[in-house]
Subunit: 150 residues, 2 copies
């Protein structure tokens, strides 16, 4: 596994949309958005970001790597918790600035709060300002026990 | 429907993650990421962005509004094509910088290229640089006919 330049510079809109070359359109920070769904249930588990290195490692290893904007570093999902993500399918969107990973989530939990998915609260429609409703919010693990902090 | 200040400033990590107040963590450009899935199939249809105004309109109307980074303007999905998105459920993630919309996609096509989903190409795993594979890439409509350009 090497981490040299991997992806060619994006071409025209037509090449991006209809071509067979993966030429991700990284943003000013060098990142693309990664949407992660559970390959079995289809639920969205989390949204994260990848730089070129994270994307290359994900492709080459079949396990999900991301770039943490807060910690400013490459990270392998599950490196602390053991809850790695095995990528069953990886897709890229029309303009190649977003990726969709269908994963098998080891440990059944993708969220650092211990929930299966990061999306455990619903926003009621109709009136802005209505209280959020917790849904599918059971904790699969205790974050304090896994990460040593709440 | 008004478009004044809608959402309170995000509080502590604990308030963001465990609270019942929607206090989106907009980025430096005033945006959050919106992941859109088909409420019936669970497939990811597209990834877009919302500013506060787009989010408020989405909540109040039950139809999806976004903010276009390229056109630098608020837009209602389907305003040109008629392919609006009826929001069946709206969720927010742990740190409130991403939203998940489960929608009923009118016209069966979310992508401006005419496909059902923007994610119509798979990235083969194992070796970076392998050609993309088209999947579920049938066009539901002719973009030229709908938008007047290819």
């Amino acid at each position: 596994m090497t981490d040299g330049p991997t992806f060619a510079t994006p071409g025209s809109a037509k090449e991006l949309e209809e071509g067979r070359a993966l030429t991700p359109k990284f943003d000013a920070d060098g990142l693309v958005t990664a949407v992660v769904t559970d390959a079995a249930s289809g639920d969205v588990l989390m949204v994260a970001h990848m730089n070129a290195q994270a994307l290359r490692r994900t492709i080459e290893t079949g396990e999900a790597w991301y770039y943490s904007r807060s910690r400013k570093k490459l990270w392998k999902k599950g490196e602390t918790s053991g809850h790695v993500q095995r990528v069953k399918e990886l897709r890229v969107d029309c303009d190649q600035d977003a990726l969709w990973l269908k994963v098998e989530q080891v440990g059944e939990s993708a969220c650092h709060t211990g929930r299966r998915s990061c999306f455990y609260r619903a926003v009621p429609l109709g009136k802005a300002g209505t209280a959020l409703e917790f849904r599918d919010a059971d904790k699969m693990f205790d974050p304090k026990a896994v990460y040593g902090k709440s």
